[in-house]
Symmetry: C2
Subunit: 325 residues, 2 copies
């Protein structure tokens, strides 16, 4: 089968196709014929040789496709349309997936749409609810509102809570799109100081929850934007990783809860529990068409290098999907 | 009545006695004749003019004494022996306490012993269980093990969980005392690198929970000592407040949950809920003599300046108590 590996750590040009035998399933696993896969920031970090989470030489952490083999203990029938997280190997024609992590694709969604769901919606769910502990009375500040996780988080927060949703985005087009998904206050960070706008929108109280993909360059402004007892969920460092001078007195004064998280390196058990809760609580909203996957663009499998470059250019709204089979 | 105020922000010599009228109770409040009060770090910070939490000009945030008046809605009888947190005013002959925050003093304890309970045991309970989410399978690292909160935390962790308890202290005498309270691994930080010892004691995994009173000077070593998915509860900055460089990548790699907390500025509702849970779950262990207040020294009320200097000298094991009436 065709699959994508990294020749040596570096840029998108290092992504190469290579022939592999079909992977073999163990107890509790499914073999999936991959229809669509999707691109994630963590794939870029892996490509650059900076993560080291995954032992799989094939990139890709999520797919949608058809079950072609179900090993002992895997309780899904051959032929089922499924989507879910995989432990690497997603940029390939076939991949192994633990059965307890497979979600059935709602009937009205295509495989390309389904591939746009697992990583960003599970991450948004985990960060909003498990770590952010978002409630109806809260305000949530979602940075990079038009990104894959951002568009998922806006919809989940809107459909599952009464929370006030504030987003930041880097263009008017992106801000408008976030508004259409349900964001209450949309800040173009290139034209406005987001900390000032957040305080204005919250009666000077600040946000109860921040989803922070940016890190160092937003540190001070996030601290200003956070309410006392707020939960600050750090899930990315697009704005750098090193903060010069952190004043712990300020963290104490606001009783900040700073929670750093990544989904990919977490245990199979964690991903299983997260998937199960998501299937019970969020998938019904997809079936009712209240929440939808946001696909920015679908690239042919052969154009994997372009797909990575497109993500690195930061112009996408929603997910970048690969059409594999 | 006699009470202690701060003449102007500064050292212990700024603590002065002044006459005040007895405070008046409102609905739901008790008037307490103070028998004993206790010294806390937060009193020193208030004395230095650095906190601004309390509007009460009289210092002191915890007392033990007798109920002499119970306002409408305060369901404790006059004459009851109680202990608890007050909203300032504890260094005085009489003080007002919200009734829902009053804990009955177990019969076998003196007022001096009772005054050594509220602030440090409630803080230890809150940080270990509410914020630290300590479980039987965990390891907890408690810095300043011989301090008021430290001695409380060791006992609560020992009696309420099967967790492994590691402490740091600045002398062999303090380390030995912590061992006698139930600490499993006692590190004299002046003679050993605590990060190295914690990793040795945890099969290189690190501690699941850290109670950090130290802040900046321990930042790097605490980060090394913390396990993946660990909860790092920041409750003091005895070692400075400014960390020169924080690498967010390291926080992400360990999925650190850094939770900064203070008890004194929290709401009446929070203190009520914390007190109620503590009364239900921990006070029975005092009655069974499995947990005991640790009193370092009792100072006459008139010696308030010496009592503050004694805390600032950092030689105490357990609590510094004031004998008021």
């Amino acid at each position: 089968m065709k699959a994508v590996i990294v020749k040596q750590p570096g840029g998108a040009e290092q992504l190469q196709f290579q022939d592999f035998p079909k992977p073999k399933v163990k107890d509790g696993e499914l073999l999936i014929k991959v229809k669509s896969s999707a691109i994630n920031r963590t794939d870029i970090i892996s490509r650059e040789g900076k993560s080291g989470y995954l032992s799989n030489p094939i990139l890709g952490i999520e797919v949608a496709g058809e079950v072609v083999e179900a090993a002992h203990g895997a309780e899904i029938e051959v032929g089922a349309r499924v989507m879910g997280l995989v432990n690497g190997g997603g940029y390939a024609e076939y991949v192994v997936m633990p059965a307890e992590r497979a979600m059935r694709v709602p009937d009205h969604l295509s495989f390309a749409e389904a591939a746009a769901i697992p990583e960003v919606f599970l991450t948004a769910y985990q960060t909003l609810f498990w770590l952010g502990e978002l409630t109806d009375q809260d305000t949530v500040l979602i940075h990079a509102g038009a990104s894959g996780v951002g568009t998922a988080a806006i919809q989940l927060a809107k459909q599952m809570t009464q929370a006030k949703i504030i987003i930041t985005a880097g263009s008017q087009e992106k801000a408008d799109f976030c508004h259409s998904l349900g964001a209450d206050v949309c800040i173009n960070y290139k034209e406005q100081s987001f900390a000032k706008e957040v305080l204005k929108a919250t009666d000077n109280q600040g946000a109860d929850v921040i989803l922070d993909f940016v890190g160092a360059s937003y540190w001070e402004k996030n601290l200003k934007s956070l309410k006392i007892d707020g939960r600050w969920v750090l899930i990315g460092i697009l704005g750098g990783s090193v903060v010069e001078k952190v004043n712990l007195m300020e963290l104490l004064g606001k009783r900040v809860q700073l929670k750093a998280t990544l989904l990919t390196p977490r245990s199979d058990e964690y991903k299983k529990e997260l998937t199960e809760e998501f299937v019970n609580r969020a998938i019904p909203l997809f079936k009712q068409d209240k929440i939808r996957p946001i696909v920015d663009q679908i690239f042919p499998f052969a154009d994997i290098q372009h797909a990575h470059k497109h993500m690195e250019a930061n112009r996408n709204i929603g997910k970048i999907v690969l059409h594999v089979n």
